[in-house]
């Protein structure tokens, strides 16, 4: 089937099976910040925005982005600059595999007026897993993002 959507503001057309995962489509389209982690909705490495909502691309099927506005980290470079800087400054990155997902979640959380307390941020990160950092530095980085 044919799927048309915008990814980071540009129109993309896919010729794909209806059961194709959005995760694979966006990666084929060059958005490699979207990582294939668990493939089961548990790790958040594949997080992206669909019509403004942060969701797991590994669970979404191609037809679900028909006519939708998809935004990945590639399309939010300016908006996430302060968050990414804070991650670097606080050493919230080791292998980096989980980082795009965490940065998008932090951006989603902070841009909706999320509270800067450690407890609230920990709860907000419930959909993202990191195997390297132990989370402490990630939480600290988000608390200290310069606004």
């Amino acid at each position: 089937m044919q799927i048309t959507c915008t990814i980071n503001g540009k129109v993309h057309r896919f010729d794909c099976a209806p059961e194709s995962r959005v995760l694979d489509l966006v990666r084929e389209a060059g958005m490699t910040s979207v990582k294939a982690g668990c493939g089961e909705g548990e790790c958040g490495a594949c997080s992206l925005f669909v019509n403004g909502r942060l969701v797991n691309a590994c669970l979404l099927l191609a037809p679900q982005i028909q006519d939708a506005e998809v935004v990945t980290l590639e399309g939010l470079q300016e908006e996430t600059a302060a968050i990414r800087e804070s991650f670097a400054e606080h050493g919230a990155v080791q292998c980096g595999f989980c980082t795009p997902g965490f940065v998008l979640r932090a951006y989603d959380y902070l841009s909706h007026g999320g509270e800067r307390s450690e407890e609230a941020i920990k709860a907000a990160l419930d959909g993202n897993l990191c195997r390297c950092t132990g989370y402490r530095k990630i939480v600290e980085a988000i608390v200290k993002v310069k606004s």
Binding site: M1, A17, P18, E19, R21, E40, G41, E42, G44, S47, R53, L54, V55, N56, C58, L59, L60, L61, P63, Q64, Q66, R105, D108, A123, A124, D126, G127, N128
Partner: protein, 268 residues
């Protein structure tokens, strides 16, 4: 694979009559995984655009929750927080932020998992499901909607909404799992105590969400002693062992939760 998108309820019921074996698609948090095991010939009917299945409204002491309402919409809804705090508390333990942005109320009910949190909470709240087909609509108490493991009474129908009496009195909701959030419940317990007496239900304690009628009668009769509660719990539940935890463990956790519910309920 055959993909069809319904744009209104009439279209959806007509498609369902024509393709009774079709997999409905809402948030696809369960369906995406189900699809990997489905036959290559399966038909997908995408119902996520049906306006008739959206939104929350209150009328005559009842709340109507559309089948397409997501868990995050439920969690953020002021009316839900004010009038059905148990449901908001349940939504808070459900999946993760990203999952709650996708997962729908109708999907949780229809998927018929014994571990479905929201469904168990809705059973304690005496919710009714509304089902639609080409022949029209009918309503079924949620508890009677299940017929065993992964078995529902859906008959070429789709769920359009659940209707829940507004909650009064004391309530309790608790979920136990490996992680505090984003996990499948090993056990969860929902309890309300209002004018009608106790209403108690749980997830992962039987083939489908269970209502604890023996225990309710016991507590309504003013009997609170541990041995009697344990015995009632055993007769009300049928937890499978499973690979995630043993039957004895689930029963013990359920017992501890009931004790906590009785000593420290939330109030509304």
């Amino acid at each position: 694979m055959n993909y069809l998108r319904a744009t209104n309820l009439g279209e959806a019921t007509a498609l369902l009559a024509r393709y009774p074996e079709a997999l409905l698609l809402c948030g696809s948090t369960d369906a995406a995984l189900q699809l990997r095991h489905a036959a290559a010939t399966a038909t997908l009917i995408d119902i996520h655009a049906l306006e008739e299945l959206k939104g929350v409204s209150v009328e005559d002491g009842h709340m109507r929750i559309g089948a397409l309402v997501t868990l995050n919409e439920l969690l953020r809804s002021d009316v839900v927080r004010a009038s059905l705090p148990l449901l908001a508390a349940c939504a808070e333990t459900f999946g993760s932020h990203q999952i709650r942005n996708l997962a729908t109320v109708g999907g949780n009910i229809a998927n018929a998992s014994p571990a479905a949190d929201l469904t168990a909470a809705l059973v304690a709240l005496e919710a009714t499901v509304t089902l639609a087909s080409q022949e029209g609509e009918r309503s079924v108490p949620l508890e009677a909607f299940y017929c065993g493991y992964k078995c529902t009474k859906l008959d070429h129908e789709l769920i359009t909404a659940v209707t829940v009496p507004l909650q009064t009195g004391e309530w309790y909701y608790r979920k136990a799992g490996m992680r505090e959030r984003l996990n499948i419940a090993k056990v969860s317990i929902a309890l309300t105590q209002g004018h009608g007496g106790f209403r108690i239900s749980g997830a992962s304690l039987g083939p489908s969400p269970v209502r604890f009628r023996t225990l309710e009668a016991l507590l309504d009769g003013g009997v609170y002693d541990d041995a009697a509660i344990k015995e009632a719990l055993e007769s009300d539940t049928d937890p499978s062992g499973g690979h995630r935890s043993t039957k004895a463990y689930r029963l013990r956790v359920a017992f501890n939760m009931i004790k906590e519910a009785l000593s420290q309920p939330e109030e509304r």
